[in-house]
Symmetry: D2
Subunit: 335 residues, 4 copies
């Protein structure tokens, strides 16, 4: 049983990820939001910065030394969690939405994030419940909430790896809505007029999510992300060379892998990002290119839902013994 | 107190309005959806037509003669409710999302909907709770759920009328997202490629929502709607000639009018449609053009939320003694 | 006859307006672009900043003291033209795309632009050819290129004023694509994710384009602009109280007013902004609300075409005796 | 030298491809459009169907038996060209924008288009000028205008094949704006509200453009297309396993391949579809994943420009000895 009320603080509450955590928590029957923080905007009503949230919460500054809460959601740039987690953990449990604790490899962290890791001694658990770590999440003090691309990619790829079907390096061609860049990217490149009606690749070689995908999926991947002119949504198309198989067997592998999952579904029709907007769902389609020997998997999530805030709340539900779907929507918002 | 579980049928469940009613009801703790109907698609899983809804409900055909439910949401084109309401009412209460019972004037109905009204003897209540008809809604058997433009327009205009400030004909220049046209409008005009990055007026003279606005607001209005390249959202800008007044007095009038309302809010900054997307909220800003003597009111709603399905559920909550906000979101989905 | 080649400099070539002037001039058979300038980016290839322009032009800094050109297009924020026009005019003719020389009234300039006008002695001509000032433009040294809202609004309103039909204050409810805010507005408010699928009013009272419209149309107007989630395009809906008239007479007034104009057209169907995208056209529809006595005029332009750069080139064509449509498109880009 | 005036007929002038051909031809100094046809809409002014085209042309029906023109652009569904080309060719030359004459393999045609080819005896030339068939195009009577995906894909892949660098099956993950579906697809799936803010894969296995790409590139490919919520634009990301090489060598291969091409450019920054909108350009970026041995090429076109109508006019320019870029824009429209 969950304790009567979990008291939560959201650090970095005015970014897209943080504000979405707040939105979900405000609708969660077992949580009280006792703090929303912003270093820059302390003293301002949250609603002034986030007019979509009909709340009277006031932004405050965050002091890691005096955390009066059961759980802290860290929604900050990389570096913050690494610096403050130990102090916070002495007072509350943490769901960290940054990349600080996602990678096992210190070498990769240093290479891809451009600085040494300073808190490797802290025992973080990677918070992707559907790939077999639920018990670890339940008892974790510090959960590393997965990246958006890794969530969609690993859910699409892991069953192939587990079934030992791979026969070469999978290509993951992934596409994200613009909110993935965050709300702080107030530069010309992210202006509405620059991105509307435009599509492009970016981070073609060496994107930060590549080592995370490889660690969690358990194989090397050729990974490139793209930017789609939509605010939310993320799709990954995995072109995976596989040993000879049939489409029926392929689909059965995915169906079984996620048979008991409420948020991950094998679907018949190729899914669109729109059908999972606002939800915590990941819809997956499985095809087989028999001519060339490729499994082609597409998976869609809401990058701010199952790809960030929704998954963070799902992890919190596990940590605090709430039913896993509490406060989360399994339905998308359409149109 | 609400009865333990209200059993609901949604007639026309695959349209935008109907599917949104289903989505809201599936998240409503006091409602069981016992039927989702579609004359064309009976026998199909709802999820096949509406892949955003993670439900196993099957579409069936609707038989007005055998309604086994407490409440029926009619989400059909004009004409259907008028024809079947009497038979349904002998078995269940009705929230009608069509225009059939919105107008008091039979003459206007005949003129604007092109046919005589055939069920004027049925006692329908106009379901806009915030303009003073809550008790009537609570006890109503048949609620006429308001149109989207009238909801935004009347909420923006009524306080001026009630305060007897009008000094001429208000101009209501309203703008809607494309879902207002419905999901059945599968013609070239509504294709993505035709409407993306385009804005236009339509129905400049004599739009059907004009008499509805006039009846509910209590004054004549110059009304023209426009189509905005976004799926959801609706804004009305009311330019109302007024007697000499101050902006403070104007704002106080609106603040008082909606002081106890959870879903209608006077806001400081000019609101955007995005901030109410997915919610049942109406945000209103009040400005005063002292030079020319105009109050300029802008109001935003989600045309499928407070403008349709959300309001329908709000009305159902009143009819069945649920707290008025049950199953409805007061927060928008952003970005 | 035009001189063989007009040598042009574009000052502020990387903004939306400036780059569009460059694009048009690069396709103009009688113009050589001899300079593209940017104070911030001098030394950079223009194509690096504007990857849509397949040109080898290099950005330079602009020195008003040594202008080696026949015409200078000033595409800068308000204030720049006022400061430098006199010096430039001793060497070249000017088309100024800023607001500096648009207003006749010094009082209004000071009020709406927040500073005194310092160059009122310079003889600027307002460059809206279709409202009767072609000869003045032809011989002008300094043309004040109109604002985007005034262009659409004045073309929609002036014929009513000239016909002495007005019977009250017209309401102009105008809507613009986001590029109207310029490319330099790199703030959170203009991020893709903030504006996509959103519509809102802004500048409800006292927008800077209001006095410009009033001067050129010759009447007071109630004017409010709105922001549409599209990069280009601008629509104005004019609700004008008029003396009793017929729709036929109204339309005839507009048809006659623009009978010989290539770029301004009375159209039968209500026009969309999309149909004029990329063109220098203004399409106008005329309706009559006989019940309440309003003419309702809608007019659409491309805010960067007829609303800025296209009109600037049209003015240059007049100034240098090119056929007026040279280098301009009369067709829109669709879809 | 081109003949003084080429007289052109556009068959299927109201679709997206056909109307874009008309738009380009109306701006072409050496062409007179003598006919625009539509079987369904004969007798209607073209402008009524295509309000973006400011022309007085009237739609007529097309009679293949009496073609009074120098060139006919066939913008019809597959099947039409095959049936009528022989008769038309006795009177005029043809640029066929359908797929009828794109494939060399009769077997593939029958498999992918579901019917036997009935006009294989006609000597069609594949009209992608930049891959070495210019002379054949110049003298061709019948040019098969390439598909949109094949244009972007082949331009991105061919230099790798020619340099004998391939070391496995390339994955082409391609994405198109919605206009690729055509203007006739007036079904629910293509409604604005269904596609706005959504991204999805489609045709994952066995898309019709796959054999076309394979024939022209000269290698097998794993190809899947996706739908992007934008009206125009197409991107292909090619993940090609290659023998060990350096990024410099890779880029040099592409630079040389297109050194003399005006419309195909190797660019430094990863290109966006927006930067080629409205142009006939293809921008290409070349990256190298040294870790896994992949060349990663991205290429962008306007699917209606270089991907359809622009390329058709480019081919016509070759056929009638116009300078190749006549009537075509090398600059994109932005924003």
């Amino acid at each position: 049983m969950a304790q009567s009320v979990v008291r939560a603080v959201v650090v970095g509450a005015t970014g897209y990820g943080g504000a979405e955590v707040v939105r979900l928590l405000l609708g969660h029957p077992g949580v009280e939001v006792v703090g929303v923080t912003s270093s820059r905007l302390a003293g301002t009503p949250l609603r002034k910065e986030c007019p979509w949230l009909a709340t009277d919460l006031q932004l405050s500054s965050f002091d890691p030394a005096t955390v009066d809460a059961d759980v802290v959601f860290l929604c900050q740039e990389s570096g913050f969690a690494m610096e403050h987690a130990e102090e916070i953990l002495s007072q509350a449990r943490i769901v960290d939405l940054s990349a600080d604790f996602r990678l096992t490899s210190e070498t990769d962290f240093a290479e891809f994030y451009g600085r040494p890791h300073t808190a490797k001694h802290l025992p973080a658990v990677y918070g992707l419940p559907e790939i077999g770590k639920r018990d670890a999440i339940r008892s974790a003090s510090l959960v590393a909430n997965p990246g958006c691309y890794p969530t969609a990619s690993v859910l699409a790829l892991k069953p192939l790896v587990d079934a030992e079907l791979l026969n070469g390096v999978p290509v993951i061609d992934a596409k994200s809505g613009v909110s993935g860049a965050g709300r702080g990217k107030a530069t010309t490149d992210y202006l509405f007029s620059e991105l509307a009606t435009s599509f492009k690749a970016y981070g073609i070689i060496g994107h930060r999510h590549q080592p995370e995908i490889e660690e969690q999926a358990g194989c090397k991947v050729r990974f490139s992300p793209h930017l789609v002119p939509m605010p939310r949504g993320l799709e990954a198309t995995v072109h995976a060379p596989v040993r000879e198989v049939s489409v029926d067997v392929l689909q059965e592998i995915f169906r079984e892998a996620y048979a008991s999952e409420r948020f991950v579904n094998l679907v018949d029709a190729i899914p669109s990002t729109k059908q999972v907007t606002g939800s915590n769902r990941c819809d997956i389609s499985v095809s087989y290119d028999a001519r060339l020997g490729f499994a082609v998997i597409t998976s869609v999530i809401d990058n701010l839902g199952k790809g960030a805030a929704g998954q963070a709340v799902q992890n919190m539900n596990l940590m605090f013994d709430f039913p896993e779907a509490t406060g989360l929507s399994v339905h998308g918002l359409w149109p």
